[in-house]
C-alpha cells in the first residue's frame, strides 16, 4: 500500500488556523491501512483540533467525513455536499487524493494532513517498510524478488557496496543490506554464479525521472 504518516499536530494546526469552517476528509484505503488518515484518525484529529482551538479561544467548526477513496470520482463525489459547505478541506489522503480533491473542487482550498512517503508493506503490526519506488520497468525477476533500486540506498544494480557489514546497510545499521538479501536468496536457489553477470545501466525514462507519467488504457477509454 501507499504508506504515509500524519503530519505533526503543530504543523496541521498552523495550516488550518486561517479558517473558521473546516472539513477533515479521510480516506478509507491506503492511509486507513497505515493508520494515518482513515475514519478513526479523522475523528481523533478533529477532537484534538477542537480542544486546541477552544483553548486558544478561537472559534472553528470542524466537520468530518471519510470516503472509500479520494482518488476516484465515484467515491469522492459523495463528499460534494460537505465540501460545498466548508471553507477549506484538510485531506488526510495520500498526495494523489489531496490533488484530486483540489482538481474536482477548484473553488475550495485543500490542505494536506498526511506526509505521503512510500509504497510498502506491513512487515508486522506497527512496522511498515519501503519496497517499491515505481520505476516503471520491473526487474524483480533478475534479483530474486528483492529490489535493488528501492531497497539499496545507492540503487546499485551490481552491488553490494563496500559499506555492507553484517548484512546491514551503511546508511542505517538497522536496515538490511538489500544486496546481502539478494545474495542469500541466490545462494538458497543455487544461483549465485548468475550474479557474476554484469547488469547494464537502468533506463530511467519509465521512472519519475522521465517526467510526470500517464497510463492510458485504450481498452477502457470510450
Amino acid at each position: 500500500m501507499i504508506v504515509g504518516q500524519q503530519k505533526p499536530f503543530a504543523e496541521i494546526k498552523a495550516s488550518v488556523h486561517p479558517y473558521s469552517k473546516l472539513l477533515i476528509l479521510g480516506c478509507g484505503t491506503c492511509v486507513k491501512t497505515c493508520f494515518a488518515g482513515g475514519e478513526d484518525e479523522v475523528a481523533i484529529l478533529a477532537s484534538c483540533l477542537r480542544l486546541a482551538f477552544r483553548k486558544d479561544g478561537q472559534i472553528i467548526t470542524i466537520d468530518e467525513l471519510t470516503v472509500e477513496r479520494q482518488c476516484e470520482d465515484e467515491f469522492l463525489k459523495e463528499a460534494a455536499p460537505k465540501i460545498a459547505q466548508t471553507e477549506a478541506v484538510l485531506s488526510l489522503a495520500c498526495g494523489a487524493g489531496v490533488q484530486m480533491v483540489a482538481s474536482r473542487y477548484a473553488g475550495t482550498p485543500v490542505l494536506p494532513g498526511v506526509n505521503t512517503t512510500f509504497i510498502g508493506i506491513l512487515e508486522k503490526q506497527g512496522l511498515f517498510t519501503e519496497e517499491c519506488s515505481g520505476c516503471g520497468n520491473c526487474v524483480l525477476g533478475d534479483f530474486h524478488a528483492i529490489c535493488p533500486l528501492s531497497r539499496c540506498a545507492k540503487k546499485l544494480l551490481n552491488g553490494p557496496c563496500g559499506g555492507s557489514q553484517n548484512g546491514k546497510c551503511e546508511v542505517n545499521r538497522e536496515t538490511d543490506c538489500a544486496w546481502q538479501l539478494i545474495i542469500d536468496r541466490a545462494k538458497a536457489f543455487g544461483q549465485l554464479d548468475k550474479l557474476a553477470t554484469y547488469v547494464p545501466p537502468k533506463d530511467w525514462r519509465t521512472s519519475y525521472a522521465g517526467g510526470p507519467r500517464k497510463l492510458v488504457r485504450e481498452d477502457l477509454v470510450i
Partner: protein, 307 residues
C-alpha cells in the same frame, strides 16, 4: 600506453606505491599543493578524493590539475553519487584533455554521512557501469550512447574493493565482475586484519584474478588508540584486530604515533610477501607528512624511474 606512469610501473612488474589526498573545503589551492609537495618523489601517483564522505570539497578534477602542474601524477577518484552519466562522461573527457590519465571508479559514501545530508543523491549509474563506460570510451572511442567521440579518453581504469566488507564470499565474485567490466587496477580498503586480507588474496589468486588486475593494498597508519577505536566502531568497512588496538592503547600519548607507524611498517613487510599483490596505497589523510618516512623505512625509496 596512455601516458600513465602508474600503469607503466605496474606493467613493468614493479611494486607500486600510491598515496591519497583530500582537497580543501574551499577554493584555497595552496592546501592541495602543500599536501602534494610532501608526497612528491615518494609515490608513483596520488589519489585525489571526490567529495569524500559526502563532505563538500574542491572538486577532484580541478585538484588533479593542480597536481599535474606540480609534476605529481594524479589518480582522479570519481563517485557516482553526485553526478549522472551525462556529467560523468563529460568530466572524463575534460579530465583527459587536461592531462589526467588514471581514474578510480567508486559509488561513493552515501550523502547522509556528509556535510549537506539534505541533498538529493544521483546514483544514476554504479561503479561497475562507470568502469565499463571508461573501457568503452578507451577501446572503442564511443560514449554510452554509441556516439563516436572526437578524441577518445584513454584512462587507466581503477576500482576499489573491500575485503573487509560482507558478504565475504561474494567479494571475490565482485572483484571478478569489476575485472570483466574493465578494471585494470584495484586499491583496497586499509588493511589491519592481515589474516582476512591474505584469505581474500588467496581466493583471488586461486581464481587467476591476481594475474588479470593489479591489486594494491590500502594502508593507513594509526595515530592514536582513540583513532583506532573510532575507526573500528564508526567507519564502515574497516576491521581492526583487538590485539592491534591493545598495542596502541599500551603506548603513551607521545609514543602512540610511533607505535602506529611501526605497526604500519610491519604490515607492509607482510604484505610484500603476498603472492599477487602489486603495490600499496597509503591513505594517511591529514597526516601526509608520515608518507615519506614510511616509504623510506619500508625500503621503497627512491621510487624507480620509468620513462
Amino acid at each position: 600506453m596512455n601516458g600513465s606512469r602508474l600503469q607503466h610501473m605496474l606493467t613493468l612488474g614493479r611494486f607500486a606505491v600510491t598515496a591519497e589526498v583530500g582537497p580543501p573545503r574551499g577554493a584555497n589551492a595552496d592546501i592541495i599543493r602543500e599536501k602534494a609537495a610532501r608526497l612528491k618523489g615518494y609515490v608513483d601517483a596520488v589519489n585525489v578524493t571526490d567529495n569524500q564522505t559526502a563532505i563538500v570539497r574542491m572538486s577532484s578534477m580541478s585538484s588533479c590539475v593542480h597536481l599535474i602542474q606540480m609534476g605529481v601524477e594524479p589518480v582522479m577518484q570519481m563517485v557516482t553519487r553526485d553526478r549522472n552519466r551525462i556529467a560523468l562522461q563529460s568530466d572524463v573527457m575534460g579530465a583527459y584533455s587536461l592531462g589526467i590519465r588514471n581514474v578510480l571508479c567508486l559509488s561513493g559514501d552515501h550523502q547522509t554521512f556528509g556535510s549537506q545530508a539534505e541533498a538529493m543523491n544521483v546514483y544514476d549509474i554504479d561503479s561497475l557501469h562507470l568502469i565499463h563506460t571508461l573501457k568503452t570510451m578507451r577501446d572503442e572511442g564511443r560514449d554510452m550512447s554509441g556516439f563516436q567521440l572526437n578524441g577518445a579518453p584513454k584512462m587507466f581504469i581503477g576500482a576499489a574493493e573491500n575485503p573487509f566488507a560482507d558478504p565475504f564470499e561474494y567479494r571475490v565474485i565482485r572483484l571478478a565482475k569489476k575485472i570483466s567490466a574493465g578494471a585494470e587496477f584495484i586499491q583496497t580498503q586499509c588493511v589491519y586484519d592481515l589474516p582476512r586480507f591474505k584469505e581474500w588474496m588467496k581466493l583471488a589468486h586461486q581464481k587467476g584474478l591476481t594475474e588479470k588486475v593489479h591489486i594494491l593494498a590500502g594502508i593507513t597508519p594509526l595515530k592514536s588508540a582513540r583513532m583506532a577505536k573510532y575507526m573500528a566502531a564508526n567507519v564502515s568497512g574497516i576491521m581492526i584486530p583487538e590485539v592491534m588496538i591493545k598495542r596502541m592503547e599500551g603506548a603513551s600519548k607521545e609514543k602512540a604515533a610511533e607505535v602506529g607507524i611501526k605497526i604500519c611498517l610491519e604490515t607492509i613487510q607482510e604484505l610484500r610477501e603476498i603472492k599477487g599483490l602489486h603495490g600499496i596505497h597509503i591513505m594517511a589523510i591529514e597526516w601526509e607528512e608520515t608518507v615519506p618516512e614510511i616509504v623510506r623505512a619500508a625500503d621503497l625509496y627512491p621510487r624507480p624511474q620509468v620513462s
